[in-house]
């Protein structure tokens, strides 16, 4: 039984070029801004909210899964082997909260903080050099489980707020984000030789490195707030209920982080579509 692991230089990834991803990001932002502009005339016909400050506290879900891949080389049995890790991010829980200030007429500005966490797997495909012969690698498959992705985002948003009815407020928004991401990456794999003729090798383990990076991105979306609680008969006697509502926020966040791994960084996409709902306080 021999172990044949270790690190080496990283191979080129099969990811779209950065320029095209930035283009997509810009497209997304333009889509949100266009939405704001389209809805603004309709909103303009509506009165602006009278309360100037809204505090929001949400919990929700990031439904979309995404993948990213990484290929790394290692040296075993005198040759370069390699493993490809296909990271399969799952949906995960999101906590999102913030505050917004009405600046002028329907225009407001907000500051939010969101937190996302998911635990996911990576599928590992390795090519392991043969102990006896050059250029006759064995292939093997394995899974690396328990990998964690954490994203904490600070989102600034410019908002167009529309008082659709006296109890319904709809706002569209967009703005920059600062995202701090922590990702578990497979930095090395271990294999175990079975027996002569060594035509097969088994994936026997992996080494995980948590990498952290803070980057900038963009966010945009729509927030639908409803302040109807004071209209309910059993709550109408409470004046405070005029200040408390519920809401649904749909936000799309987009960013790219360059995670450092052994002086060989890997580029990963951050954010995604997230849907949260919670309580609203307006003052």
């Amino acid at each position: 039984m021999t172990e044949a692991p270790v690190l080496g230089a990283r191979q080129p990834r099969t990811r779209p070029p950065t320029s095209s991803r930035q283009g997509a990001l810009l497209g997304s932002l333009l889509w949100v801004i266009a939405g704001v502009l389209v809805t603004a005339p309709a909103a303009r016909a509506q009165p602006a909210p009278t309360e100037r400050v809204v505090v929001r506290l949400d919990a929700g879900w990031r439904p979309a899964s995404r993948t990213f891949a990484d290929t790394r080389a290692f040296t075993a049995n005198l040759e370069q082997g390699q493993f490809a890790a296909d990271y399969e991010l799952k949906d995960g829980g999101v906590f999102d909260g913030g505050v917004s200030f009405l600046l002028w007429r329907n225009l407001a500005i907000g500051l939010d903080v969101s937190s996302f966490r998911t635990v996911h797997d990576a599928r590992i495909n390795s090519e392991v050099p043969h102990p006896f012969f050059f250029d006759l690698p064995r292939t093997t498959e394995g899974r690396a489980g328990g990998l964690e992705r954490r994203e904490v985002g600070i989102h600034i948003r410019a908002m167009w707020v529309s008082q659709v009815t006296d109890w319904l407020v709809v706002s569209v928004f967009a703005g920059p984000s600062i995202i701090s991401a922590t990702q578990d990456l497979v930095s090395a794999v271990q294999h175990t030789e079975i027996a002569f003729p060594f035509s097969e090798v088994t994936f026997s383990g992996h080494t995980v490195s948590a990498r952290k990076e803070t980057t900038t991105g963009l966010n945009g979306g729509v927030d639908i707030d409803s302040f109807f609680l004071h209209r309910l008969p059993f709550l109408g006697d409470f004046e405070v209920m005029e200040h408390i509502g519920v809401g649904l926020l749909v936000r799309y966040v987009r960013g790219t982080a360059i995670l450092p791994v052994d002086n060989d960084p890997i580029e990963v996409d951050l954010g995604g579509l997230q849907i949260t709902s919670g309580v609203r306080f307006r003052f």
Binding site: N77, F132, F134, P197
Partner: protein, 563 residues
């Protein structure tokens, strides 16, 4: 023991031979030698008669099973190897192989001696015989090779038998087999059983090293790490492979071969950083491993004895710097040769020795002689002698000896083709020449064009002299050329007969046919004619009657004049 007395044995044999309607495949010669050579291509009656005879002789104890094995390739087949005894004493060279399918005989090959009239009480003890042999050889006998009584048929074929002691001794340059008369102590016959290349070997300490062969080609070496050093001991294969570096000490080399000096781990070829630069050691170690792999992957054979016996070789048996002070027999054996000594080594389980070659500036016959282990075909050739020793044990004289050599050439060439893709850095091109990678230019033999080296490519041109054990390295090219023609096809230069070979893409068919014939069908005294019948039988066994393989083999033997 259940042996019959001499008169009874003879009577049974003759009775069988004279029963009405019992016509043996080949009647006994006037000297009482009965050759059995019956396969599915033979008349059914001949096969039945041979089978009946074997059964009868087995029941009365005249034939005893030496081995019984299931067929490694055909599930329903079994193989017996039987030895003839006379009054409980084995008859030299009298062995029979019988192939069966579900108990039904498929083929019977072998040689039996009829009408032996010999008293079997020796006048000399085994110790007496040992002393005679020690005097003859000037050496101490192998521990595992105490003299054994055998009934010895006269070499001249006169139907005369002697009770003799058979013993082996390594004389420093030859592995002599002596036959000493058990009555008088005189030497009856001897021959050199040293199989030479040309006339005249998942754990906690395992490691993979990188070696450079003699052609500076990169190879991976399976080695053992001990105390910060690396040793040429492969423990990753089912059979251990050892490569010992004798560091040019010819005296110690000879002592090791004689069994009078032990081999220590410190004698193993070694390297401190696991980047091996001694090409002779690298090529020997890797070559033995690849030969092991070829035997296993191609023929499902577990190392040389089919029981994963270790493979062991010696490199640098002499120092090139000692060339001019070395006696001729040392030059001939340890500089200009490679050989396999079946009983040599500390455990008596055989050693391959690879010659040192000559200094680069010295040519012999216009050829440069490099380290012999640098040629994979030579490495495989020598190890194949051990396969023969553990199977047919083809007698290393005359036609049986030529077959012995030919089989080693088949394995040498076969291993080279098998491993061609495993070489790197431009080394290892496969061909039908032997030793071309170390004896340059050309090599020493060619199965494609035997006449290139003055070797016969037709039976009519066979060597009939006494030297080289009856021309074992010369006449081996007749079956060798047949092997080539059966694969590649072509026209024999002498007979003008053409052969439709199976083609290089079907090379494995012919390799399987010959391997099966030579390891399970042939016997110690088989000749070329028997090899023809056995290979045809083997082709039928493996690929069916009238298969392309059978056609190719049949045509090839005919083309080289063996009918």
């Amino acid at each position: 023991m259940h042996a019959l007395s001499r008169p009874v044995f003879s009577a049974v044999l003759f009775a069988l031979l004279t029963l009405p309607g019992l016509a043996l495949a080949q009647p006994p010669a006037s000297n009482g030698v009965l050759t059995l050579s019956a396969g599915s291509g033979s008349a059914l009656t001949a096969l039945r008669e041979a089978d009946t005879l074997v059964n009868q002789l087995t029941r009365d104890g005249s034939l005893r099973a030496v081995s019984q094995d299931s067929d490694p390739l055909l599930a329903d087949r079994g193989h017996e190897r039987l030895q003839q005894f006379h009054n409980g004493i084995p008859v030299f060279g009298a062995t029979v192989t019988r192939q069966t399918s579900g108990g039904i005989p498929v083929s019977v090959f072998g040689t039996l001696h009829v009408g032996i009239d010999l008293e079997t009480t020796p006048a000399l003890s085994a110790d007496d015989a040992a002393r005679v042999v020690q005097e003859l050889s000037g050496r101490t006998l192998f521990r595992s090779a105490a003299p054994q009584l055998v009934v010895f048929p006269d070499r001249g074929g006169a139907g005369v038998y002697r009770l003799v002691y058979e013993a082996r001794a390594f004389t420093g340059s030859q592995l002599m087999v002596y036959f000493v008369d058990a009555a008088t102590g005189t030497l009856v016959w001897s021959y050199n059983d040293l199989k030479t290349q040309q006339p005249v070997l998942p754990c906690s300490r395992c490691a993979i090293g990188e070696g450079l062969g003699i052609k500076s080609d990169r190879k991976k070496m399976s080695v053992t790490a001990v105390g910060g050093a690396f040793f040429a001991h492969d423990q990753l294969r089912p059979a251990d492979v050892f490569t010992f570096d004798m560091r040019g000490d010819v005296q110690r080399t000879q002592q090791v071969l004689e069994g009078t000096a032990p081999l220590f781990d410190s004698d193993l070829a070694t390297d401190t950083d696991n980047r091996w630069l001694d090409g002779a050691s690298v090529d020997a170690h890797v070559g033995m491993g690849w030969t092991h792999d070829y035997l296993l992957n191609r023929f499902n054979r577990q190392s040389l004895n089919n029981q994963n016996v270790r493979l062991l070789s010696l490199v640098h048996p002499v120092d090139r710097a000692d060339l001019f002070s070395a006696p001729p027999e040392v030059i001939g054996l340890f500089f200009l040769n490679a050989f396999y000594c079946g009983l040599c080594g500390p455990d008596g389980a055989g050693v391959a020795v690879f010659g040192e070659g000559l200094p680069p500036n010295i040519l012999l016959g216009g050829q440069r002689f490099n380290f012999f282990s640098g040629a994979l075909d030579i490495v495989a050739h020598e190890l194949a002698h051990a396969v023969t020793d553990f199977t047919s044990a083809l007698l290393y004289v005359d036609e049986s000896g030529a077959l012995n050599e030919a089989f080693s050439d088949f394995i040498g060439v076969g291993t080279e083709f098998y491993a061609e893709s495993l070489f790197r850095d431009g080394a290892g091109a496969a061909d039908y020449s032997l030793g071309e990678d170390v004896i340059e230019p050309g090599g020493i033999r060619s199965l494609a064009t035997p006449q290139q080296f003055g070797d016969p490519d037709h039976y009519s041109l066979r060597f009939l002299g006494e030297s080289d054990n009856g021309g074992v390295h010369t006449n081996s090219l007749i079956p060798g050329h047949a092997f080539y023609l059966a694969i590649e096809g072509g026209v024999n230069r002498v007979s003008g007969l053409s052969v439709a070979g199976v083609g290089a893409q079907n090379r494995e068919q012919i390799e399987q046919v010959f391997f099966r014939a030579f390891t399970v069908l042939l016997t110690r005294s088989s000749d070329f004619a028997a090899a023809r019948v056995a290979t045809i039988q083997s082709a039928r066994d493996l690929y069916g009657a009238n298969s392309a393989a059978e056609l190719a083999v049949t045509q090839a033997w005919t083309a080289v004049g063996v009918n």
